[in-house]
Amino acid sequence: MSAGLGIPVVHSRHSPIERLSGRTRVLVTLVIIVFVTVAYRPLVLGAALCGVFLLVLAARFHWADLRGRLMHVEGFLLVLLLLLPFSVPGQPLLALGPFTATEEGVLRALTVVIKVNICVLTALAMLGSMDPVRFAEAAESLGLPPKFARLVQFTIRYVSVFGAESTRLMESMRARGFRPRSNLHTWRTYGTLAGMLLLRSLERARRVEEAMRCRGFTGRMPASAAQSAGGFDLVFGSAFACAMLALLVIEFAT
């Protein structure tokens, strides 16, 4: 599917990841994120990062899109990388006036950076090109309650609509001479804007629900055949399980 999400997605050309069922993609993402959260050995994290790079290559991203997405995360991590070494007690490494960076702090910062990058790259590689319908179906088939799955699906679908609506209202305010200042009128106007957005969202939600009922919706989305796992899922799943087993052994059994 080209660009199903209501938010800008990372475009992947026809890739091996696209051949996997939604269930496999969500499951692999969850397993990697949970594992990386509890793993601490540098060797394991390094190996996991290499593995995730393979997933990114397999996803065949347009690098410009990927770079754009990663910029937000890396900017935040850069701040973390600069500040964390100075805030963790341990063996002094570098003194800048009254502030001292420690070995433990540097190690902690690097670990966080690697972990976050693994999680973000995994999510982008495995889920970046999935549309909300497939994602919600996959999550539901993995045990997510149906109501929550619908909530996820519609949140993703309508987040950009919500953004566009707020932009329209802001433009309408600006067109009538509104300039935000630090005064009561500004805050009252923003309060009205927030209230109006909420009301319009509720109204829109009600009308969309009615439109769905008119087309036979009874609370459950129609089942999709696209979720069934195929041979490629089996091959990928086996390779992934072997790699995870090896990492688990290195992390916890050695």
Binding site: M1, G4, F154, R207, E210, A211, R213, C214, R215
Partner: protein, 233 residues
Amino acid sequence: MTAVIDLDHVSVTRGGRLVLDDVSLTLAAGERLALIGANGAGKSTLLRTIVGLEKASGTVAVLGERCSSEADFRHIRGRVAYLFQDPDDQLFCPTVMEDVIFGPLNQGLRRQEALALGHALLRDLGLFHLADRVTHHLSGGEKRLVSLAAILAMRPQVLLLDEPTNTLDESHLGIMLDILSRQSAAMIVVSHDLPILQRLTERAVILRDGHLTAGALHRHPQWIDQVHLHDLR
């Protein structure tokens, strides 16, 4: 001729205000009816009542079935398709094709069957080039046409069209009229555009403040002359 819609003394109250007042209306199979009235006269409410989106008193019979509960209306929805006034309310799936097959899937078709139906329909309507487009990135005219395709995909016997040609440019209007004039389903068309109603429908009824002034205009060859300008504002 068999009545596909039969409203008998139907009233709808909203917020203490009588929006529809003792309305009786019959639509025969294959018949095309124009529903005219000023803004706020109750035209959309009347259409919503037919598909069970409004709580109403009186008798609502659709396709020969008397409907009073949500379960009754659930049974007839799909066979009676309602085109919403605002296409943004109608289109909620990520892509056009997903939206078009949503109804057929709810009707019990398998995904492959629904996709085949969706492909054939979009091709037939000349909208196939939109199949993979993201719905909320479509132009206003495209959204209206796709909304129509989404309800036609359910192969309805009755079409309830709430201002289907609003805000359409000449090109999209031509496509919309061409599609609608090819339909054999009975339809009720709400519009303020008299030339379009003349082209699409055979008779008209007027709603004024919740009252239906039918009868006088039924089967009248020059019904259009009897529409007061007040009703179109």
